[in-house]
Subunit: 302 residues, 4 copies
C-alpha cells in the first residue's frame, strides 16, 4: 500500500474544498489559531511513517488527551473503573447535564466531559502528582520530552468553564467525585491543554494498534487494548460516533482543537489536524480525510 | 482454529451456570418457550460449519429481522435512506419516545423500534408485497424455502403492541410515516415473527462477512456492507451496544427471542440462542457465549 | 361596578390593536374561521348579563370542554379520580409525551390532552352513552338544547390526530387506559367539537362561581368546586398557566378555538372569544382582554 | 370567625396523628432539630393575633426567604425582572437541572433554587450590602431587629451545596448570572439561614394580604402584590404547588425547615411550622394543618 501517495491524494483533494466548519470559539485562547492549518500523519505497525501538510506542528489536543488519562487509570484500576463510569454511547451532546441527572451522576462513558472528570478524580486519588505523571506518560508514549501543557489555554478554559463546573458539582452532589472540585478541574484543564503534533500523536497511539505494547513494554494487556479500541469506536466522537463508525470505520478520538486520532488494529495509526469544526464539534476536514482514507485503502475494521 | 472444540468448551462452561436472565413476557406467545434452550452455530467464510446444542431448532428472530429489512431498503435506496433515520446510537431504551419527540420524529437509527418502523414504511412504498418480498429475501439468504412467519406471534404482538402504536403515531404526526399506520405495523409484526435456527441465521448473515456477496450475488456493495457492520456495532444491542462492543468486539444484532447474530468480517458469522434475557433485553447467556468466544479465539475486530 | 362600560372599554381598546396571534391550523376544519371575530360575555352571580361583540355566535370550544367532562367524572368518582391522573401543572406543552413516559403513563393533570383522554376513558366505563350524556350535561348547564357537536370538526381532528393517538397508546401500554383506544378517541374528538357562544359558556360555568350550585341543583359540593377552580388556576392554560394567573388572576380554561372561560368565585364568570392564538396556544386577544378586565375592576382572587 | 378555637381544634386533631414525614437531612445543621415541634400563628388583616403550640420559637425559614428577596427585587426592577426568570410552574423537583438546560439557563420561576439564585444575582448588582439590606428588609416587615442569619446553617449548606453550585454554574455558562458565583451562593445561603418564628413570619407576610401596604408604607403596588400572590399560588410548593392549591387553596411558600407561610388576600396570613417533610419536601403536618384550616373556615381564594 503506497500510503504516501494516498495521503498526498487526500490532501490535494481536500485542501481546495470549501471548508464549512468553524474554529471553536468558546475557549478564547483557541480561537486565535490559523484556521487553514491542515496536516495528516500515518504510522504503520512496522514503522512506516508518512506525513503531509502541517503534520509536525503542535496543536491543542484537547479531548484526545482523555484517551491517555483513561489508559493510565485503566492500567491501574482495570475493571474497578466501571463502577463509576459506563461504557455506553451517550446519544447526547458531550456536555449534557440531562442524562447525568437521570442517571444519578454516573457518566455514560469516559469520553464525554463528565466521564473524563470522573477519571481525573480517580487519578487524583492515586497519583502523587497527577498533572506531571500524566504528562510524563504522554511524553514516554510520544518519545518526546518537550511535550507540555499550554498554561494559557488551561487558564483560559478554567475561566470560561462554567458548564464543566456544573457537571462536576452535579456529580459531587451524587457522591461520584471524591476530591475537591477545583483540584480536579485544574487537573482536567491542564490535561486538555497538552500540545502535540500529528506525528507525535500517531506515535503515542501506536500501542492501541499493537496489542497494548509500546516498545516492548506492555502498557495495557490484549483484552484491555481491544476494549479501549471498542470504547473509542462507540464513544469517541461525541454525538457523531455512529457517523464516524459508519463512514470511517475505525476506532478514534477527536478534540475541539481540530485533531482526530484513529487506529486500525494490527495495521496503523493515523492522525489528522484541521481546526475548523462541524456542527457536532468534530474537525470538518479531518472527518472527510479519514473517510477518504478508508475508502481509498478499502480497509476498515468492518 | 478448532472452532468445534471452542464451541464445545463455551457450551460446557456456560450450560451449567446460573442463568439470571428472564424470558420476555410482554409478548404472550413468546413466553411459552422452553427457557433452557441453548444453541450456537458458527460458519466460517470458507464454509466451515460448527454447531452445538439446539442450533438447528427454529426460534423467533424478532429484532434480528430488522437487519434483513434494512439491508433490502439500503440495497434499493442507498444513501437516500439517511434523511429519514439516523445512524447514531440512541443512549436510551429501544422503545423510548422521549428522544423521538426531542428530535422531531426522526429515529436515531434503524435498529431501535421507531427506526425499524420507518424502514418498514419505506419498503411499503416500494415493494409490491412487502411481507412476502422480505420473507423471500430471507429465504434466499438462508437457503431454505420453509422459513416462515409465525402468525400467532405476529397477532400476539399486534394485540399488545401499544407502545409501538404510540411510536408510529408520533412519527406520523411529524410526517415521517407515509403509509397507513396499521398497514406498517402489520408488516413490522410479521417481520419480527420470522422463525429461523442458529444455523440458518449464520448462513443468512454470511454476506456481511464476505464484502456483501452471497453465492456470487452482490447483495450490497463493499461500502454498504462495511456500513451495515458499523451500524450493527454501534446500534445493534439497544442500550447495551457499548457493552457488547466492549466485551465481544464484533458487529451484531440481538432479538428478544433470545437470539444474537454476530459477524467477524472476513472470517465468520456466529449465532447464539438462549431465551432468557438480561435487564437490557439481550440474551443473558448469548452475551456471555460470544464474550467467551472472542476471548478464547483472541480475535475481534479490535 | 358598571360591567357593560368596562366591557365596552376593553373591546374598544383591543379591537384596533395589532393582533399578533395565528389561527390554529392543525385541525383543517378550524382553519376556516373568520380570524377577526371577537366577543366577550360576563355574567354576575346575581344574574347581571353583559356582552359585547360576537358574544352570541357559537365557536368550537375545544379544550374548554375538558372542564365539563372532568366535572361529570368528579361528580361520579370524587377522590377516586386522582389515582389515575394528577393535579400538578405540567411545565410542558399540552401534548408532550416526554413527561408521560417518565411518569409511567399517569398524566400530570386532567387538562392536558393525556389527562383529558384518561377522563374520557373513565367516563366510557360508567356512562351508558358517553357522548350523548356529556352533551346533555352541557346543554343543561347552558340552558340550551340546541348545543351540539360539529361532526365535521370531530372527523377532521380524528384524521389528523396522530399525536393524540400516540398519547393514548402510550398510556394503554402502561395500563392507564381500560377501553378500546379508538372508542375513547372518538368520544374525545366529539367532546372537543362542541360549539357554544360566549353567552352560553358563561352560563354553563356559573356553578363554579356559585359554590357548585346550578339553578338550585348541586352539581358539585363546595370542596369539589373549590378544587375545580384551583385546578383551572394552576393547569388551565397549558404551559402558560403561570402567566395567566400572574396577569389575570382568575381560574379559567382556554381552547384552541380561541375561547377562554374564567371564573371569579362568588362574583362572576366571563368568557372571551378571538380565534388567533399566541405561541403557547391561548387566544392572543382573549388573554389581553381578561388582563385588562381584572386591571380595570381591580379585583382578582389575589 | 373564632380563629383561636379553630387553631386549637387543628392542633388537637393533628398533634396526635402519625407524622409520616422526615426531617430534611441534606443540610447537616438542620438535621438536629427537635422533630416534634409544631406551631401555628394566624394574623388577621385587622390585627387579630392567634397562636398555638411552638408559634413563638424561631426556626430556619429556608426557601420562605425567597419571597422576601423576590419582593425586594420586584420593588426595584418591576417588570424588568421577567426577562431573566419566568413565572411558570416547573413541573419538576425544585433543584432539577434538566429543565434549566432545555430552556437555556432561564429558570422557570423565582421560587425554584435556580430562579432564587438569579434573584440573588440581580440584588447583588444593586444593593450595597445585599446580605444586610435583605436582612433589614425582613426585620422591618417582622418588626423585630433581633432576627438574624444562622451562620452555622449557612456554612453547613455551603459545604454540602454541590447541586446549587451546579445550577449556578450552568446558568453562568448561559450568561444568566452576572456576578461571581461564590459571592452569589454566599448571599443565597445566608438568606436561607434566616431564623424567624411563625408569629414573626405572619407579621412579615401581612402586606401580601393588605394590597402591598405595611404600616402605611407601600412595599409593593396593588398589581405587584396580586402577582406575588399568584406566583406563590402556582409556584410556591415545588412540585406540589398543584396539590397545595387543590387542597388548601391559598397562595403560600414552604421551606425545608418545615415552615409554610400562606396568605388569604384581604383576610389573614397564617404560618405553620413542623420540621418533618413529605416526599416532595413540604412540611407533612403543615400541609395538613392548612388544609384543615380552609376546610373548617370554608374559605379559600376559590
Amino acid at each position: 500500500m503506497d500510503y504516501q501517495k494516498i495521503l498526498f491524494d487526500i490532501y490535494s483533494e481536500l485542501k481546495g474544498t470549501d471548508n464549512k466548519g468553524k474554529v471553536a470559539s468558546y475557549i478564547p485562547e483557541l480561537a486565535n489559531i490559523n484556521a487553514d492549518k491542515f496536516g495528516i500523519h500515518l504510522l504503520t505497525i512496522d514503522g512506516g511513517s508518512y506525513g503531509i501538510g502541517d503534520f509536525n506542528e503542535r496543536f491543542s489536543i484537547q479531548s484526545i488527551a482523555k484517551v491517555f488519562s483513561l489508559s493510565l487509570a485503566y492500567k491501574i484500576y482495570d475493571k474497578k473503573l466501571w463502577g463509576r463510569v459506563g461504557v455506553e454511547p451517550s446519544g447526547n451532546p458531550f456536555n449534557s447535564l440531562v442524562q447525568l441527572e437521570y442517571e444519578s451522576g454516573v457518566p455514560r462513558n469516559p469520553f464525554i466531559n463528565s466521564g473524563a472528570l470522573v477519571i481525573c478524580d480517580i487519578l487524583t486519588d492515586t497519583l502523587k502528582n497527577p498533572k506531571i505523571d500524566v504528562l510524563n506518560f504522554i511524553r514516554k508514549l510520544a518519545g518526546n520530552e518537550s511535550i507540555n501543557f499550554n498554561y494559557k489555554v488551561a487558564e483560559s478554559e478554567k475561566k470560561s468553564g462554567y458548564r464543566n463546573a456544573a457537571l462536576i458539582n452535579l456529580m459531587k452532589s451524587y457522591g461520584n467525585i471524591k476530591n475537591d472540585v477545583d483540584e480536579v478541574l485544574d487537573f482536567y484543564y491542564h490535561l486538555c491543554s497538552v500540545e502535540m503534533s500529528c506525528n507525535e500523536l500517531s506515535q503515542s497511539f501506536m500501542f492501541f494498534a499493537n496489542e497494548g505494547v509500546h516498545k516492548n513494554e506492555k502498557i495495557l494487556n490484549g483484552s484491555q487494548t481491544k476494549r479501549m479500541n471498542a470504547l473509542m469506536q462507540t464513544c469517541g466522537f461525541y454525538d457523531e460516533a455512529g457517523e464516524f463508525s459508519f463512514k470511517v470505520g475505525l476506532p478514534g478520538k477527536s478534540g475541539v482543537g481540530g485533531g482526530i486520532a484513529a487506529v486500525h488494529p494490527g495495521k496503523y495509526t493515523v492522525v489528522s489536524w484541521s481546526p475548523k469544526l462541524n456542527r457536532k464539534g468534530n474537525s470538518y476536514l479531518g472527518m472527510k480525510a479519514l473517510e477518504v482514507l478508508t475508502t481509498k485503502t478499502k480497509l476498515s475494521i468492518f
